[in-house]
Amino acid sequence: MTDQPIPPSKLPSFSKATEPMIKVEGLRKSFNGREVLKGISFEVWPGEMLAIIGPSGCGKSTTLKLITGLLEPDEGEITLNSQRIGLVFQGSALLNSLTVRENLALALKEQKLPKREQDRAIMEDLTLVGLADYVDAFPTQLSGGQQKRTSFARAIVNDPEIVLYDEPTTGLDPVMSTIIEDYMIELENQLHAAGIVVTHQFSTWTRTAHRAILLHEGVVVWEGKPHEALHSNNPYIVQFAKATREGPMLAGKV
Amino acid sequence: MMAMNIPMERNTGLQFGNPLLSLENWCAIGFRLFGQATIMLFQAVGYIFHGGINWAEVMRQANMIGIGSLYVVGVTGLFTGFAMSLQISKELAAFGADTAVGGVVALALIREIGPITAGVMVAGRVGSAMAAELSSMVVSEQIDALKIMRVDPVQFLVVPRFLAALLTIPALSIYSMFLGLAGAIFIAQAKANIPPDIFLDSVKQTVVGTDFITHLIKSVINACIIIFFSCSIGLSARGGAEDVGHATTRAVVWTMTIIFIANYIVTALSPLHTS
């Protein structure tokens, strides 16, 4: 069930870093004349997990794609302090024609490790997500939850300094959601990477993120710590966190 | 009443299978598909004679099949005419057989090349689109919805497409034939200096009424093949996005193959006179 948000004392200190790992300034993006992002800015520091939350269609996934370079922004700047990125896709996006091992090996291709190193890293990360026995299976032979965990392993196998999660728990049953969230917290503790999680699920952003920004119609309308959300003065975040219809977010615009 | 589901071909995967076994497998699937398509044909004909026909839908489909294919069939016919004419007119002109060029080219185009290329082109365009459309409907449960409403998918979906195809595909075939001939005439003049009137004289001398009839028969048969095979394959899909692609590919492959086979059968059965 939804746990309490991470209490401030457990937040890792990133005072050693002098620069943010991810820096986004004035990002704008339109599709077919429709402006999806109207100028957003934020920073993510190493060891920190930022949640980007908001209703459907507010530009969350677009932001992730812009950061990874899958899309080009119309305006604005994105600065990344590292090229080692791992992305967990909403639909797992494992290559169906390759085994689990080969899928993970792909992520390591750039590093050109000797085979033994490669295998070691692969087995290590698969053990982390509890799928070491499935190393030579094909994705189609795995269940949805197993595929998701495999895509986790793939995202971290190259020891990334930036990890991005695109709706990791959307569509999962509550128990599986908790399991995935636990993985995310565990990974954060181990990797100390800079992380962004895009989600609209309360349990996910309150449990796994240190900080969150709420997007509404392409603009950042709130920024703060998850445990402050419910008691905030900001009507947007209160409405979103409470999941009510009363408030400035026009749910009726579906 | 939906007939039985057709099992998909075994995914070849990495099987070093016995080629004869897969031939047998392939034949078995082919026969089952043929049976399925034939059953659908009879069902469709039954509905045509008994039920009301949604002419608006027929016209809409005819538009999609006919007008939509005008350009690809035209271009294909034209360039096939160019190529055949180039080859044949240069060859025969060197032997001084200018007066025979028109006839040879026309016979080739009208009897064999025309029906095959038009048929295959339409199969690629229309057959695959129909299989894609119907299989997506299966995957998104629209077919189930129809069945719950006691609507037979064959009557609702296949019959209009069948009628539309009967109206448009023979016309497309003839149109392709004319374009091919026009292209052939042009090339014969341009590349081998054979004037159009000599070309056409030769055509008139060699081509007989039965050739046109054979051409028409082939195009009607092609139309039936395309519609019933594609629709059978489309409606027997199940699964996700992957199966839409699978069904579409199967439709293309099977309709093309059967068109080639049927073409030969009609050729073998038709009276092959010259004047």
Binding site: L94 | L86, E112, A241, G245
Partner: protein, 269 residues
């Protein structure tokens, strides 16, 4: 490109031409980019040979039966037509040559083009589109792996390797069909058939045949890969991509077939 873009019903046929041509040019541009990137990888020998062999095997296995059946029936039909004509004029002894020429020069390449577009092109388009809409292509990009190098190059190399084999196989079956018809219908022995064939078919015919085979295979591979990699959407769009790939590759192949014929054929020797 979205499915909705092309589904106009004809308001005016002339408007449709313009759309069609624009689409064709845009697609050709996209294909050009893929071709360029493929050759860039080839020139730098960045080829996954193991994957290429796998693809070659798939292409061969998938096409084996259909090429056989189609060549057989095309060969039967063409040679029947030709045999009938020649028998009328008492020219049976030339059956071998005429059939062989027809098959090797035009019918063979055209038929092969159709089959490859239908069998190989459609399955590649389906496969790549499905990968695209399930974000697998995006996953490759995020891992800094070039989709062209990972997916297109092995298919291209595999197809190039397979084409000569399939061509020879198709030719063999077609000519064999011709021999059978000639024997049954015109009482022409295999020997006479082959003598005539040897007399009339020159080396250049084989050369052009293989050239066309390579070009056709390339067209199919590049068009179907490009369309697959550039189609976004849902399940329905997979089917749509297959249709596009089959239609466009066949159209381009027919046009190119004529151009190659024009450039290489100077007349009988």
């Amino acid at each position: 490109m979205q499915a909705s873009e092309v589904k106009h019903l004809a308001a005016s046929p002339f408007l449709l031409v313009e759309d069609w041509v624009t689409l064709g040019v845009r697609l050709a541009g996209q294909v050009g980019i893929v071709i360029a990137r493929t050759f860039y990888c080839l020139l730098r020998l960045q080829v996954d040979w193991q994957e290429s062999i796998r693809q070659a095997y798939f292409i061969g296995v998938k096409s084996f039966l259909i090429v056989g059946v189609t060549s057989l029936f095309t060969g039967l039909a063409m040679s029947l037509q030709i045999a009938v004509q020649l028998v009328q004029f008492g020219g049976e002894s030339a059956i071998g040559g005429v059939v062989s020429l027809a098959l090797i020069r035009q019918i063979g390449p055209i038929t092969a083009a159709i089959i490859v577009a239908g069998r190989v092109g459609s399955s590649i388009a389906a496969e790549l589109t499905t990968m695209n809409i399930s974000e697998q292509i995006d996953a490759l990009k995020v891992m800094r792996i070039d989709p062209v190098r990972f997916l297109v190059v092995p298919r291209f190399v595999g197809a190039m390797a397979m084409m000569p084999v399939l061509s020879i196989y198709a030719m063999g079956i077609g000519i064999f069909a011709g021999m059978v018809i000639a024997l049954i219908y015109a009482d022409v022995s295999f020997g006479v058939f082959l003598d005539s064939a040897k007399a009339m078919v020159i080396d250049q015919d084989f050369f052009v045949h293989f050239l066309k085979a390579f070009i056709n295979a390339a067209i199919v591979i590049f068009y179907s890969c490009t369309i697959g990699l550039n189609t976004k959407g849902g399940a329905a769009d997979v089917g749509y991509a297959v249709t596009r790939s089959v239609v466009w590759s066949m159209t381009v192949m027919f046009i190119v077939n004529y151009i190659v014929t024009d450039l290489t054929y100077e007349g009988p020797r």
